[in-house]
């Protein structure tokens, strides 16, 4: 595994929907490189045949009936919105 490059950092920032300055990209490149280098110690371990743990409790398929019920009103749902119009959240234009 190679060091993370500044271009990769910018690509990852875009995937994560973060706007970062060139200066921040520089800083993150250094910091993420050292964290990733540190994480590479995991390669010392032979994990062939080891099952990955996604969850510590042995829970499977917790199901419930799909029934509508009272939860929040439309008015409630909108009340913390930074911008709204009528019954909708309002956002800037999606298409250029």
């Amino acid at each position: 595994m190679a060091d993370i490059s500044k271009d990769q950092v910018k690509h990852v920032a875009n995937l994560a929907r973060l706007a970062i300055t060139d200066e921040e990209a520089e800083k993150f490149t250094n910091q993420l490189s050292s964290i990733i280098k540190y994480a590479e110690q995991l390669n010392e371990l032979d994990t062939d045949g080891v099952e990955p743990t996604t969850h510590v409790l042995d829970l499977k398929n917790v199901l419930r009936k799909d029934e509508p019920k009272e939860w929040i009103t439309q008015e409630d749902a909108l009340k913390n919105a930074p911008d709204k119009k009528g019954d909708y959240f309002r956002v800037p234009s999606i298409l250029e």
Binding site: V12, L15, L18, Y38, A39, L59, A77, P82
Partner: protein, 490 residues
């Protein structure tokens, strides 16, 4: 009066005998906050009007004894636990104006049913990412024992408020040590329950497979009492476990005769300061004198826990924090002209540096081409770490070691280097990866008067033995009775 002077049980008695009123208690709490919180900075939001009216209501009600186990008790809630109509910020600028949450977290509903009184919301590292509270985007909380030192994190406000005598108990959340480490640094009792013991509904998710809510108190009995209230299966959290909730307070017998204690050599290795080591050895002597037995064991994969944790927790965080998009709640950048820029700029303006760093790390670890090498590899190492614990618990009742390698450090001391800061959690992180319960109890003071924490780790869903072990130590020593010198009134 002072909130320092009584346990919850003693206050229950005094309220029942009408020696004091709930209004007295609530007023005492706000007076103490007024007196010391400009030094400690534990609270982000106070709910004074409502708390006082709740107190009046409780004072006017007649209730049977023991019906409401937290009747009238002043408490604080970490600010990543959602409280209806009470500002919930997660310590983040992104949510600085999230003034009107729509519902209560399940734990808050349970505290309300038990008639606890919410005094306010407690400061924390932004989105629970941090070990010092220096990542709060509002103001860093300070350690009540010495305000030049950090209180620990991320539940730093929750631990400091209890240590400073502002509230009787608080709720924190623990993803990699965020209840136990600040409890240790502030000389109070903090428990991370077994994963699944307490509902996470209404806890703003950081790393969903690791997060647990737990109580912070000044003594073990209070802690057990609060956990009894907040535990249990919740249909709103499918990862909460459908298992019985035992009466934890009934486990506090003081009897640890024949208890089998494992002491991992990795927990007393290089990097653990000599005074911390000594405090643990002294504690083991106390257990010996009480008839318990201890042996050195090995948790061989401990050294891989920090790397495993940062890959997994950051990956989960990068997905969980995708919900902060500036559309439904939180801040929105004024400077964006289209939707995509609006997402990016709102997030960049609203999130602090550590949060961005972890989102970046997590996004990278989950991205195409790196998923197997980082994320999946870490999940496999998690299995090895979990197996280490399973093996020890075949032979022993509890695992004991320090909560942290050192006592609290100075504000600003570690803030520049993320890896040094992360290493601080080396003794608490394995517990979250395995999912087992663990408590931190005070076990002494350093030369410069800062508390040490003793960590007691138990089997899955065996909080009873953890509490019994902690309580026996507490009763045999006077560490928990020490108080910080703050604000004169001690």
């Amino acid at each position: 009066m002072s909130l320092f002077d009584y346990s919850i049980k003693e206050l229950e008695q005094k309220l029942h005998n009408k020696e004091i009123t709930v209004t007295d208690l609530v007023n005492t709490s706000y007076q103490r906050i007024e007196e010391v919180d400009d030094q400690v900075q534990a609270f982000l939001t106070l709910d004074k009007e409502k708390a006082i009216s709740t107190a009046k209501e409780l004072d006017g009600s007649t209730v049977a004894e023991n019906e409401h186990p937290l009747f009238g008790i002043p408490s604080g809630i970490k600010d990543n636990i959602v409280t209806k109509a009470l500002r919930t910020t997660c310590g983040s600028q992104f949510l600085r104006n999230f003034d009107d949450p729509l519902y209560n977290a399940t734990v808050v509903e349970k505290l309300n049913d038990a008639k606890a009184v919410t005094i306010g919301k407690l400061n924390m590292d932004e989105f629970a990412m941090g070990s010092s509270n220096e990542n709060s985007s509002f103001t860093p909380t300070r350690n009540p024992w010495n305000t030049e030192y950090v209180p620990g994190g991320s539940s730093g406000g929750s631990a400091a408020a209890v240590a400073a005598g502002e509230v009787l108990f608080s709720l924190g959340s623990d993803t990699g040590g965020s209840i136990r480490q600040p409890a240790a640094f502030c000389g109070v009792v903090g428990l991370k329950p077994t994963y699944g013991r307490v509902s996470r509904f209404g806890l703003v998710a950081f790393a969903s497979s690791l997060d647990q809510i737990g109580p912070i108190t000044r003594n073990v009995e209070d802690n057990a009492r609060v956990l009894e209230v907040i535990s249990g299966h919740d249909k709103m959290d499918s990862t909460s476990a459908n298992v019985d909730v035992p009466a934890y307070t009934e486990a506090l017998t003081g009897d640890v005769k024949g208890l089998k204690i494992a002491v991992p050599k990795e927990y007393l290795a290089e990097g653990v300061s000599p005074d911390v080591k000594k405090s643990v050895m002294d504690a083991l002597k106390v257990y010996e004198s009480l008839g318990a037995e201890w042996e050195e064991v090995s948790l061989p994969h401990s050294k891989y826990a920090v790397a495993t944790y940062y890959l997994l927790a950051s990956s989960e965080a990068s997905a969980n924090l995708a919900r902060f998009d500036g559309v439904r709640y939180g801040v929105r950048s004024e400077n964006a002209e289209n939707m995509l820029d609006m997402f990016k700029m709102s997030r960049s303006e609203g999130f602090g540096e550590e949060v961005k760093r972890r989102i970046m790390l997590g996004t990278y670890a989950l991205s195409s081409g790196y998923y197997d090498a980082f994320y999946k590899k870490a999940q496999k190492v998690r299995t090895l770490i979990k197996n280490d614990f399973d093996k020890i618990f075949e032979e022993y009742d509890v695992i004991i070691g320090p909560t942290t390698p050192t006592p609290a450090f100075k504000i600003g001391e570690k803030v520049e280097d993320p890896l040094t800061m992360y290493a601080n959690d080396i003794l608490t992180i394995p517990v979250n990866l395995a999912g087992v319960p663990a408590i931190s109890v005070p076990c002494g003071l350093s030369e410069n008067g800062l508390p040490f924490g003793l960590q007691i780790i138990g089997k899955y869903f065996d909080e009873r033995t953890v509490y019994r072990t902690a309580h026996a130590f507490e009763q045999a020593t006077d560490h928990h009775a020490k108080r910080p010198q703050l604000g004169g009134a001690n």
